[in-house]
Symmetry: C2
Subunit: 350 residues, 2 copies
DNA sequence: TTGTACGCGTTATCAC
DNA sequence: GTGATAACGCGTACAA
């Protein structure tokens, strides 16, 4: 089968002759044009305050004229610090993580850093491998959408001697800096809201480890405090899509143990549960209330609207970026440990 | 407000004393241990076939024993090639792009390359800036989830002299390699399916430029061929979420010009349109048929199921990665220009 | 305030 | 098949 060509509009049609691997400009050539020594060009770019007004202007003009950009590898080799910021995400496809990464990118790119992204896929093994490769990559800073649990990895990260931000949780002992929130509190918030609404027999759907376990912990404790019954805990180890939520609810209902409300550890699961419940003819929320976490794009759109608990993931990313910028710029951040507010967004599903 | 701590389980609790920035091993130390010269260690790692069986084993043992990893910046500086592969995405949050990036990462990480991600946000200006920074970053290869339209950028990329894969379209003259599909064909496929189902008065919802324009072009041409009427073209410049699709449908309906089927250039828009239509009490598909593009996670889940046209984005990423691997490994790929099949996935919305 | 000399860690090149 | 030498392009350290 042959496809129809996509004849894309070419802006400015002068197809120049193909030349291979143009050698990039070196600092020396810029220096000659500006009539100074190479080190002066370097200073104009890195420590402009050390130059006289006059020289600086002269050099920057030459830089602008030639379009010079210094070689990041040479820079990293000599100075021991690169302009790469590494971000590690458990799952690239998560909307919340994506928003955080966007926020981070907006901050750090303003300072000329490049963003490297790695996906750990919720695997300790991958985490170990990636952190190991950091040792030689020598990034300027690292951000995680999560906290590092393995002590071995924590130690390896400390030894990098670079700014590190963990996120998405509120541990007592972060490696370095933190923009987090309490997952235990999130779980408690969920139980409390359901109690307020009069739901007594509860279920939890989520991963058994990491943040899922923390949300469950808070959920369970608060339910007990309110005299609610946690009748079912439905474990989902690999959350990939909405179908996983549908399947989880199916298992939950098959369990027999009747519940009147389910707290799902993320909105993907909650959305799936909601869709499956309606497909089975259950009335939401009278037959079953559903509460999610994360405020996904679809949460507000799927009838009757998913009640969910969330923080501002984009803001989280920006703050993480701001912390890194401060450190990289030699300023000690005022609040290296930040706790993001959790919001309960009440819609029709509870 | 104070948060409850997330007391994360620490695996292996031996909190070692914090040591700063451990200096990484250099090639020279490994050479001494192996009793060879540094260059021999380098060869054992890069061109093992050039060494005698004996020396190679000796050196690799020393490498394994010490855990040596060469400094990527020094390597990049001297050799002119880094192990960074740069991927540029128009929007990190898109599910389809995310899948492609995952596929790409799986391929190239197997060969020890690192993935760098940049977001162009559908902006020529950002594209120019990022491509410019590539000149000095000297990545090993580049992948785009899209094709480069600006001739100036195409030329700049050619001059990098590195493998480049464009995707997501099927232009006549890709810069280098291509794993694409025809957006014009996708549009035509949409019109044809709607014709088969008996829909006569059509609408298009999508971006006015780039791939949106191509899909519209194919849609319009095929509709004409089938004697259908393209009654409305509703332009959406910035597609961020489902709400944009809802708003677009609202505008479409306000237009008066009655249509019986709408082709949305992506599933985010289609999902929004579907939700809005149902919220207004329209019966889908009898009052209005809706057809999407991209097969998002939610497409099959939202009643009555979104009919959509799609390709396998994860496979696209893998193939792009395989092409890059071939080139980077010195093998000329057999099919440097690939055309991915488009699938029509019929669900309830048409 | 500006410049000189050197070295960051690796690999290209050439010699043996 | 292995090694000696130099060089990649920049910024640190120190001198002027």
């Amino acid at each position: 089968m042959s496809a129809t060509y996509d004849d894309v509009l070419r802006v400015s049609g002068h197809a120049a002759a193909p030349r291979p691997a143009a050698k990039a400009l070196r600092i020396e050539e810029v220096a000659q044009i500006a009539g100074v020594s190479p080190i002066t060009v370097s200073r104009a770019l890195r420590q402009p305050e050390k130059l006289s007004e006059n020289t600086r202007r002269k050099v920057l003009a030459a830089v602008a004229q030639t379009g010079y950009e210094s070689n990041p590898h040479a820079r990293a080799l000599r100075s021991g610090r690169s302009t790469l910021v590494a971000a590690f995400v458990s799952n690239i496809l998560s909307q919340q993580f994506g928003l955080a990464i966007q926020g981070l990118a907006e901050e750090i790119e303003a300072d000329g850093y490049e963003l490297m992204i790695g996906q750990t896929s919720y695997s300790y093994a991958k985490e170990v491998a990636m952190i190991r490769s950091l040792r030689s990559l020598r990034p300027a800073a690292v951000m995680f959408t999560g906290v590092i649990e393995l002590e071995e990895n924590r130690q390896a990260l400390r030894e990098l001697g670079i700014p590190i931000v963990e996120t998405w949780a509120f541990p007592r002992d972060p490696i370095d800096m933190l923009v987090g929130f309490s997952n235990v509190d999130a779980g408690a918030m969920a139980a409390r809201h359901l109690a307020t609404r009069g739901y007594r027999r509860l279920a939890f759907i989520g991963r058994s480890g990491g943040r899922g376990a923390l949300r469950l912990q808070g959920f369970r404790a608060e339910a007990e405090r309110n005299g609610q019954t946690l009748a079912r805990v439905e474990t989902v180890e690999d959350v990939r899509n909405i179908a996983d939520g549908r399947a989880a609810l199916t298992r939950l209902l098959a369990g027999g143990n009747k519940v009147d409300a389910a707290f799902c550890a993320n909105d993907l699961l909650a959305t799936g549960a909601l869709i499956e419940a309606r497909a089975r003819g259950l009335a939401i929320p009278s037959d079953l209330a559903i509460l999610g976490f994360g405020d996904n794009d679809t949460a507000g759109e799927i009838a009757p609207g998913l009640t969910t608990i969330s923080m501002d993931a984009h803001e989280l990313g920006r703050r993480a970026g701001a912390l890194l910028r401060d450190r990289l710029g030699g300023r000690e951040p005022r609040q290296p440990l930040q706790n993001l507010a959790l919001h309960l967004i009440v819609r029709g599903s509870t």
